[in-house]
Amino acid sequence: MPEFYFESLSAFWQMGGYALFVWLSFGSTYGLLFGLWWYSQRSQNRILQDLAKKQSREQRVRAQQQQEEEANESKT
């Protein structure tokens, strides 16, 4: 089992003087990866909702048309 290398947590944050570079790269990496995942997940979630909305709109339009046709037929 490997041991914690740094003497204290503050030493860990300082990274032996390289804090800026180490945390910059880890931060940007995880930021980018998270952003990619979030974006992909959002578009996946949205597409089914959009398709459902589109279909229900189509259905409503169709029902409306049917009603109008029936109304016309009953008039004549």
């Binding site: 490997p2 860990f12 880890f26 980018l32 909702q49 398709l51």
Partner: protein
């Protein structure tokens, strides 16, 4: 010969399979990445030359490896799409390209952040960094081309063709950049690129490499699902799926995050 692969080429089947695999792959990827990062950041000794700055290796190397791995898998998918006219493979090209581009960007950014303390400047025209930059351009070209057509199918086909052309060019570009680099400057800076690495440092690195691979697979599954739905939206099975989700998910869309 490819008979046994045939059922997987059916969009509906592939959609289900990707949906089954995605949660597992994603969980595994997050776990390995977390473990690799924590281990690499806190539980390995510092390098005797580079101090703690070498810890960037735990994301730089995996990202660089899989930026090329993603390009080759994208090119293989593109080749399959062009030769056997399999539509799913075409869509896979568009699904992988942004992931590869992000990996390449990560490799570049971390390479720069590592270069500053080691070489004294943010950017050096080192052969590896330069070819990585060109790889990013190739990715951006594929992404731009796939979005440039009014007809989505045409964009997918054209970008598949470009991906195949790019993969033929990639080794040529790589070797010419390497040759150019040795011509222009000494090989002093590449000494850190192939370090004889201590086993205590190797294990977290291998874990991160595995984690990046799993994440690539997971995100490909996720994005491929979206692409399948987008391209098959007029098919009955997608319509049924959309209706189902409409009946189920009339709850306000607050937890858009974790639902798979």
């Amino acid at each position: 010969m490819f008979k046994w692969l045939d059922p997987y080429a059916k969009p509906e089947t592939l959609y289900r399979i990707c949906g089954l695999w995605f949660p597992w792959l994603m969980t595994l990827a997050v776990l390995t990445l977390l473990l690799g990062t924590v281990w690499g950041l806190g539980f390995t000794p510092a390098d005797y030359q580079q101090g703690d700055s070498y810890r960037i290796i735990h994301i730089h190397v995996p990202a660089a490896i899989w930026s090329m791995g993603a390009y080759s898998s994208m090119a293989i998918a593109a080749f399959i799409a062009l030769v056997w006219q399999i539509k799913v493979a075409q869509w896979a090209v568009g699904a992988i390209a942004p992931i590869g581009a992000v990996y390449t960007l990560i490799a570049l950014l971390t390479g720069m952040a590592w270069g500053k303390p080691m070489w004294g400047t943010w950017w050096v025209w080192d052969a590896r960094l330069t070819s990585e930059l060109i790889l990013l351009f190739l990715y951006l070209g594929v992404i731009a081309l796939s979005g440039a057509f009014a007809d989505r199918q045409m964009g997918a086909k054209a970008s598949a063709l470009l991906a195949v052309v790019g993969v033929v060019n990639l080794p040529i570009i790589h070797f010419s950049v390497e040759w150019w680099n040795t011509l222009h400057q000494g090989a002093t800076i590449t000494k850190f690129a192939k370090p004889s690495i201590d086993p205590s440092m190797l294990w977290p690195l291998l874990l991160s490499i595995l984690g990046f691979a799993l994440l690539l697979a997971a995100l490909t599954c996720l994005r491929l699902r979206t692409a399948i739905l987008l391209n098959e939206q007029h098919r009955p099975w997608v319509r049924a799926l959309a209706q189902q989700s409409d009946q189920k998910g009339n709850v306000p869309q607050t937890n858009a995050g974790r639902t798979v």
